[in-house]
Amino acid sequence: MDSDAEMPMSSDEEMLDDEDYYDYSDMGEADEEEEEEEEEGEEGGDGSEGGEGDGEGDSDEELVGGDYEGREAEGSDEVVSRREQRYIVLTEKDINERQEEDISKVAAVLSIRREEACVLLHHYKWNISKLSDEWFADEEKVRDIVGLLLNGIDFPNSSKLTCGICFEGYSSDAMSSAGCDHFYCHECWEGYISAAISDGPGCLSLRCPDPSCGAMVLQDMVNKLAKEDDKVRYARFVLRAYVEDSKKTKWCPAPDCTCAVEFVSDGNYDVSCNCKFSFCWNCTEEAHRPVNCETVSKWVLKNSAESENMNWILANSKPCPKCKRPIEKNQGCMHMTCTPPCKFEFCWLCLGSWAEHGERTGGFYACNRYESAKKEGVYDETESRRERAKNSLERYMHYYERWASNQTSRQKAQSDLQKAEKEQLAKLTDVFGIPETQLKFIIEAWSQIIECRRVLKWTYAYGYYLDDKVKSEFFEYLQGEAESGLERLHQCAEKDLQAFLPPAVRPENNEPTTPSLADFGEFRVKLAGLTSVTRNYFENLVQALEAGLEDVHSTAQGTTSSNTTTATSKKAGTKGKSKKPLARTSSDNSEEGWPCERCTFINLPSVDACSVCDKHRY
């Protein structure tokens, strides 16, 4: 046991050196990190000595543990603060609080009731300054538009009233009005409100049932008269309206997620919700860097266009030109009005705004704009484009299959990550006595794999729409490199790790068959190295693709500037992904790089030891 304990100690020291080198030469990360790694290594040694646990060792471990935590916290803080500059994730509670805040503010400033403030804000799309400007300019007008009556109507004198809906007589205390003098019985109110709520968010601007009366039905009225579940639904519509009315907030599209994301600055739209779902804030598809939203929507549409469902929608419906919801026209005239809250009026034939129709366009129902566009061939071209797309079906299938298989791999990796978090780390702790906090590198590897699979997946959509031949070639090369780099990492995380896990059925306590702590240390270096190498490669790949592979032009023109990768130097250079693979200066063009046996990193020919893991070349 003693000799065993000695071994890891020495190996850890070796490892420590590795990391020293690793940090300085390759990663160029902060010294602080290197220090941590060092201590981390020591801690591993201490841990393996286990039972002996003298006082000093313990305190050392504590200190180290504390430091480690500290670094973690610092790191994540940094991430958070960087993230917060771009966007803020709002939980339902946050949304509620903000909404309440806005409502109370307006209620106080305009000295009106909370419910009145709520409908006013809804009407003005939660734009407080616009609301108060218009309110103070002409309160009466605003009240009139929104349907807020100034003075409550005196209760009618007669004790018995007739409900305007069911025509039954009721005593006046069993009747209510929306502040106007149209009284209805509570049962009819309940039905009226319920019908409006099941019609959708339009119920937020529900008015008195009397067609000639514009009095707004406020939330307190709903709460007084509606059924329990209708109250809840109404409150949900109010909450939803707060997020949906604002141009800066959007719901997280993940199923069952109730968070919204507020986007603060411009720049890249990829956001990550509290529920861990990453999506593009701009188009609310899943996160899709390096591909832009337009390409994604084309691609997604293309994918689903194959299905019957989409065919039906395309054949029988058109998207509302304003809010894009598909609309089926089943009867009636060409004058379409989208359902609230959109209410856009448009012409079914040309999808133009109805307001622009008239004699000019040749009448209202035989829309000339459509006819003339057809004559000019605008629509024919859409047709022929469709034809061409059919012809390229095979090409499409090629990209689709790869896109889809990366998607599947990604889902598998997600479940593997959970497995690692839930089971594997605990087992490793059992076997090697390393605390789980120090096995984070496995989690990081898996997270990186998931992220890379996502990027890789979208590169296939990117490739499908890339029609520049030179760029295509270069792109495919980069993609191939990315693919193989990720394969190495995935393989390492998936297969190599298995060797260190106790087999399902263990014959006896067979010490020799269990890999040593030294082996595990090596595995750790390899996996961590591959993770960071792959991360850098993909980050650069994303940037290069987002920039539209700009530097390819110079390659095509044959100029060799110092930061332009030529086809030959790429082969030697790009695998040295740690720096800037796509704009990398290869110091040596004449000789191929050499792959490290341990971590597979492709090193420059000029070095004799691996830049990642310090393993010697020969």
Partner: protein
């Protein structure tokens, strides 16, 4: 169900009581089904429908009056907002602008008003709407009058 029945019954009683109140509208409830009504309405004066009597069919949903009744012309009519073949009516209060405060009686009144003031901007009968939109009032009126004579007036002799 119960509420709609009760309300329709009230409307029925009202109709019986005020039979002569509005001479232009005659609402008749189906003998065996209170959810089926027909109405006879007189074409408004100073319109091409004057002198005609038009039959409407009401089909009333169980959620009435929270949902609007379905109404269509049984008598053929040449009007921009009425489908020439099916008699379907394009009228906002029968669709999204419905309010439970409307009654069958007031729906009939609204339809009479629609006959007098067609809305050629949302046509169901494009030929009819086209005549109006192009300013051919005479053409529109003579077509409408012809169909009123053919379909909505008692055959002479």
């Amino acid at each position: 169900m119960q509420a709609s029945r009760a309300r329709l019954f009230k409307e029925y009683k009202e109709v019986q009581r005020e039979k002569s109140a509005d001479p232009d509208i005659q609402l008749i409830c189906d003998d065996s089904n209170i959810f089926k009504w027909t109405a006879l309405i007189k074409g408004p004066s100073e319109t091409p429908f004057e002198g005609g009597v038009f039959q409407l069919a009401f089909s009333i949903p169980e959620q009435y009056p929270l949902l609007p009744p379905q109404v269509r012309f049984l008598t053929k009519i040449f009007h921009p907002n009425v489908h020439f073949k099916t008699g379907e009516i394009c009228l906002d209060i029968l669709k999204n602008a419905w309010s439970p405060a409307w009654t069958l009686q007031s729906v009939c009144r609204a339809i009479i008003a629609l006959m007098a003031h067609p809305e050629p901007d949302s046509p169901l009968n494009c030929d009819s709407g086209n005549l109006l939109r192009s300013g051919d009032i005479r053409g529109y009126q003579s077509m409408a009058r012809m169909y009123t004579r053919l379909a909505a007036m008692p055959k002479k002799g």
